[in-house]
């Protein structure tokens, strides 16, 4: 293309020099790569009378339990749980819509409580049980909440659906027979632009009657 432009050749070469792998290879293994200098232990500083660890700004090793499986990655401490799930572990069910805890499309469970994965640092999710929408199917069968969504036309474009499914599952676990008020409250943290709230409410009512 533009052979006079240094940029096209420069950066990949630099990467190769540094890591001994091609840029493509580097990208593939980024995250668990030896190419990234690891910080073995966090630096400790004194703050407010006690010693606190300082992580970063470079990548630090982290360990997660997601859907019952162990995951390891080297991530910058600023990386959110949502970005870790989507970019590192290829769990793309939770969606990035607002990235600032407004819409609930990224809802996952942390120790069985709903959290907005976009507004939680991955580093804080270590040692917790993270549950994403990908784990809800029971073998070949849809989870009762998912089945009820299908039967009640509770999704149109579907982009908010994984977040709603998780929020509904959490609510049904807590209130097996939810009142209309429970449903209103339980769904208040999630937005849908297609206007499928009616279908979602019917779906929940159906699960409440049948039992999850």
């Amino acid at each position: 293309m533009r052979d006079d432009d240094p940029i096209h050749d420069d950066v990949p070469e630099k990467t190769e020099e540094r890591s001994g792998v091609s840029r493509r290879g580097f990208l593939k293994i980024a995250g668990v790569s030896v190419a990234v200098p690891l910080v073995a232990r966090p630096e400790m500083v004194w703050a407010a009378g006690e010693q606190v660890p300082v992580h970063g700004p470079g990548k630090v090793p982290m360990e997660f339990t997601i859907n019952g499986k162990k995951y390891k990655a080297n991530l910058e401490p600023r990386v959110t749980l949502l970005d870790a799930l989507r970019d590192q572990f290829d769990l793309t069910g939770a969606k990035r819509v607002c990235d600032r805890a407004e819409c609930g499309a990224c809802t996952v469970l942390m120790d069985n409580k709903t959290v907005y994965a976009c507004s939680l640092l991955a580093i804080e999710a270590q040692g917790k049980q993270i549950t994403t929408v990908e784990s809800l199917m029971q073998g070949e069968k849809l989870h009762p909440v998912q089945q009820a969504f299908v039967e009640n036309d509770a999704s149109q474009c579907g982009f908010c659906t994984p977040g709603f499914v998780i929020a509904c599952k959490a609510m049904i676990d807590k209130h097996p027979n939810p009142s209309p008020e429970d449903i209103r409250h339980g769904l208040a943290g999630n937005l849908c632009r297609c206007g499928t709230y009616d279908g979602i409410k019917k779906a929940i009512a159906q699960v409440g009657q049948k039992g999850a």
């Binding site: 940029i7 840029r23 910058e76 819509v97 998912q146 299908v150 999704s155 994984p162 937005l191 206007g195």
Partner: protein, 856 residues
């Protein structure tokens, strides 16, 4: 109804399960090996000349692979052939805060973001225009050099003799209505992944594949070809799942081209996904509109003339603007019988993000004004608001004064239904203090009869292939965006072929695989792609019928397809003379031939068997493939010439092969202390011709009412000096589950003579009725006429207090929401005390600031 086995049945969407499990993939869920992340540098100024861009510091940053600017792809483009005024990245000028200046492709999002900070751009700030009526007076510093007075386009239509009709009227209502700007706010941010294959002969970038969140993959392919100077055959556009469009993805959004430019420069796949703030800047929503409306009536309520002057604040680029301003005038017709119409429409450029198409494209704001004014007229003439609408019905089949052909017309029944269901006659005016009912009607096109690129090409083409095992694959270019396009396609194919829905697989919206379809916009898919599917299926069916007829010893016309079986006519009604379970028939084909020893292959047995009373679908397919070879069919749809409208300038927009109709009653209460309006229930009757899938139709009606309610009560893009003040999902308030009125969708079926199985539009038309229905209900509740949307507590309270003569609430710039004069710089309670960029000398805000001796 019972004639159908699949049409009209409540059917779950064919892709629903994948959406609930997270398995369904949207563009941003995709990755490719070696993929880079692109980030775009946006303009901080509403109007400025770019003097210099220096990206050397950014290029030096480790992990940055490519930086592209306007020079890397200088060809202009735009969705309309008359509006090629955009560049993917600005060439010489930026025209709104958020305009695209440069793009960085880097190995991570964080590095790309850091690199943006290191790009040095020198701007020469130019005076900017924010108010369309001021912008129309501009002589200098034009937004586009070739658009005099910053007017993108103006149209002046006169049908009949409006002057005479106004002279002879018994009563003339007149008023100015203002509808503020709203945006789609689809959940899925725009996202594009672009990758070049390396050409094995030349080693240079070769074929381009683009995965994009789009409603119009074929337009994207066309514009990519234009901007990148590549033949279309070298470009493949694939539409993965789309997380909502509502019109916001019905044209080419800059990132879709920028991703490809960056991928070419970086020699690696590049993905760009907008942040939520960038989605608001990309916009293309419904323009702020000033509507001066005048209606003449006779004493009995018959409308004799309408005169409308509409000014749309179109933003900095043409986008769909010419179409929007034409729809606003054209759709004054085809709802009621209006013998005389005068329309003056001005699409004006301002230094804000471009407006485009949004659900109910062009009709919504004018319908708000018209239906509100009709309610005022009814009150004045002491007529029931439902009755005045009945007195102005069309008498189809007919062609309206502005050239729109109306055939099926379910409006009378829609009105009847909502009046009955809401117990309108008993309850209107009887709901007690501060509660009320309001009625309004609307309509919309079932696709445009003339495509935006004028040609005789069919608007939709569909291919069908049937495999030897009876599996049906439908290849359609129609874009599923959540509205149920794939399900509709599968239903029509299955119904026509008389096979089960489970046999049908839909392959959609991949420019390499699927035949051309102009896209999912203006509610055209069911009518046009549906008709194309029907025709393709009928073509295949003919081949199967001729083979089956030979097997059953009858004429091909006498072959009937139903429920996975193929019968002789007369033997049908679901029963064969010798009742046999289809499965039994399939496994023991020749068992019914008495005295024969069964030997040889299944086909041999069939040959020995002689005449049959019915075949299973698989058997019929095998017979057809054995006879004809591979079983394929093609169908296409072009709107008939009679439906394409008149000959006047601008006549191309508005005509449609069929119109949907809607009537709604809203029940509201108003808190007179806070000004808060609560919608308790909306009865929404919609004439969709025939409901192919009632559950989907209801979902679309409810969704439209929701979005209309948002525009009626809360949603508003708030501007200050060209800066969007509320670019977030909480600040831009769309309704949530907590503001949850019950919506009762009522399906009215007028069975259109040209629609597939009689079906027409169902996803947009309802929206336009919701806003005036709520406005009219507010009047019924508390006696105030709001002429400016949305009806926020602030506006309602200001109007209530003014009416009572209580201490007034001064809205910004002293606006009276019952008689607004011009746009306010910011509509909500937000105050902006920043200095802002230089205003144009003509802008009154600048003059006022100067008069007051300083900036606020």
């Amino acid at each position: 109804m019972s004639d159908f086995s699949i049409i009209g049945k409540r059917t779950a969407m064919v892709d629903a399960a994948g959406k609930t499990t997270g398995a369904g993939k949207y563009t941003d869920d995709l990755t490719l090996p070696g993929m880079l992340i692109g980030k775009i540098l946006h303009s901080p100024f509403p109007h400025a000349r770019i003097k210099r861009i220096d990206s050397s510091r950014a290029r030096a940053l480790e992990g940055v692979v490519a930086i592209v600017t306007g020079k890397d792809a200088p060809n202009p483009y735009g969705i309309l052939p008359v509006g090629h005024d955009e560049h993917a990245l600005a060439l010489d000028k930026v025209r709104y805060v958020g305009d695209n200046v440069a793009c960085v492709a880097a190995i991570s999002e964080a590095i790309a973001e850091n690199a943006l900070e290191l790009i040095d751009v020198e701007y020469e700030v130019l005076p900017a225009y924010f108010d369309p009526e001021e912008s129309m007076k501009a002589e200098t510093d034009l937004i586009h050099e070739n658009k005099l007075h910053n007017i993108e386009k103006d149209y002046h239509h006169v049908f009949g003799d409006p002057e005479k009709a106004f002279g002879e009227a018994d009563y003339v209502a007149e008023g100015r209505f203002i509808a503020n700007e709203v945006t789609h706010a689809a959940m899925e941010p725009h996202s594009t992944l672009a990758a070049f294959e390396i050409d094995s002969h030349t080693g240079k970038p070769g074929r381009l594949t683009v995965w994009s969140s789009t409603q119009v993959p074929y337009y994207l392919q066309h514009k990519l070809s234009l901007v990148l100077d590549m033949p279309m055959a070298q470009i493949r556009v694939i539409k993965p799942l789309v997380g909502g469009g509502f019109g916001g993805k019905s044209e080419v959004i800059p990132l879709e081209i920028i991703a490809a430019i960056a991928a070419r420069a970086a020699k690696a796949p590049v993905k760009i996904t907008y942040t939520r703030e960038e989605v608001f800047w990309a916009h293309r929503g419904r323009p702020r509109s000033i509507i001066d409306l005048k209606t003449a009536v006779k004493k009995d309520g018959a409308i004799t003339a309408v005169k409308a002057r509409v000014v749309q604040d179109g933003g900095a680029y043409c986008s769909y603007g010419v179409v929007t301003i034409l729809y606003s005038g054209a759709l004054l017709g085809a709802l009621y019988d209006i013998p005389n119409i005068q329309y003056d429409g001005y699409r004006v450029l301002t230094n804000k993000p471009a407006c485009g198409a949004m659900r109910g494209h062009g009709t919504v704001n004018v319908r708000f004004a018209f239906e509100s004014q009709l309610d005022e007229i009814a009150a004045r003439l002491n007529l029931d608001p439902a009755e005045i609408r009945r007195r102005n019905l069309l008498k189809p089949p007919c062609v309206t004064i502005n050239g729109l052909r109306v055939q099926s017309y379910g409006l009378p029944e829609c009105i009847q239904q909502v009046v009955e269901r809401s117990r309108w006659k008993q309850r209107k005016g009887q709901l007690g203090k501060a509660s009320g009912l309001g009625i309004a009607c609307s309509h919309y096109v079932s696709g445009a009869a003339n495509s935006i690129i004028r040609s005789d090409m069919p608007h939709s083409t569909v291919n069908i292939k049937i495999d030897r095992d009876g599996g049906v694959v439908v290849y359609t270019g129609a874009s599923e965006i959540g509205q149920g396009s794939d399900t509709m396609t599968a239903q029509i194919a299955a119904e026509t072929l008389g096979c089960s829905l489970g046999r049908v697989k839909v392959v959609a919206a991949d420019t390499d695989l699927t035949p051309i379809d102009i896209g999912s916009y203006s509610s055209r898919v069911t009518f046009m792609a549906g008709n194309a599917t029907l025709r393709a299926a009928e073509q295949v069916k003919k081949q199967i019928a001729s083979a089956a007829a030979r097997k059953m010893n009858c004429a091909p016309e006498d072959v009937v397809f139903r429920e996975d079986k193929v019968f002789r006519k007369g033997d049908t009604q679901g029963q064969s003379p010798t009742p046999l379970e289809p499965t039994q028939a399939a496994v023991s084909v020749s068992g019914r031939v008495e005295g024969q020893i069964l030997r040889g292959s299944l086909q041999q047995k069939r040959k020995e068997e002689g005449q049959k009373y019915f075949l299973t679908f698989e058997e019929a397919v095998v017979a057809a493939i054995d006879f004809h070879g591979a079983l394929t069919g093609t169908g296409s749809y072009a709107p008939p010439p009679e439906a394409r409208g008149g000959k006047h300038k601008g006549a191309g927009v508005g005509p449609s092969p069929a119109y949907s109709y809607s009537a709604q009653v809203a029940e509201v209460s108003v808190d007179e202390d806070t000004g808060e309006v609560t919608v308790h229930k909306v009865w929404a009757a919609h004439d969709c011709g025939r409901a192919l899938n009632p559950v989907s139709v209801e979902g679309q009606i409810i969704g439209s009412v929701w979005m209309g309610m948002g525009q009626a009560l809360e949603e508003e893009m708030v501007w200050k000096d060209g800066m969007l003040m509320n670019p977030g999902l909480l600040e831009y308030r769309s309704p949530s589950s907590t503001e949850s009125p019950e919506v009762e969708p009522i399906i009215v079926e007028s069975v259109d003579p040209e629609g597939p199985f009689g079906a027409k539009e169902c996803s947009e038309g309802s929206l336009a009725a919701t806003i005036p229905a709520i406005a009219n209900a507010i009047y019924d509740a508390v006696g105030i006429r709001l002429h400016e949307s949305p009806f926020t507590p602030e506006r309602v309270l200001a109007a209530l207090r003014a009416r009572k003569g209580a201490k007034p609430i001064n809205l910004t710039e002293g606006v009276d929401p019952t008689a607004p004069r011009r746009f306010r710089e910011h509509g909500g309670a937000l105050w902006f005390r920043g200095k802002g960029p230089e205003r144009h000398p003509l802008d009154p805000a600048r003059r006022e600031a100067a008069d007051a001796g300083g900036d606020d």
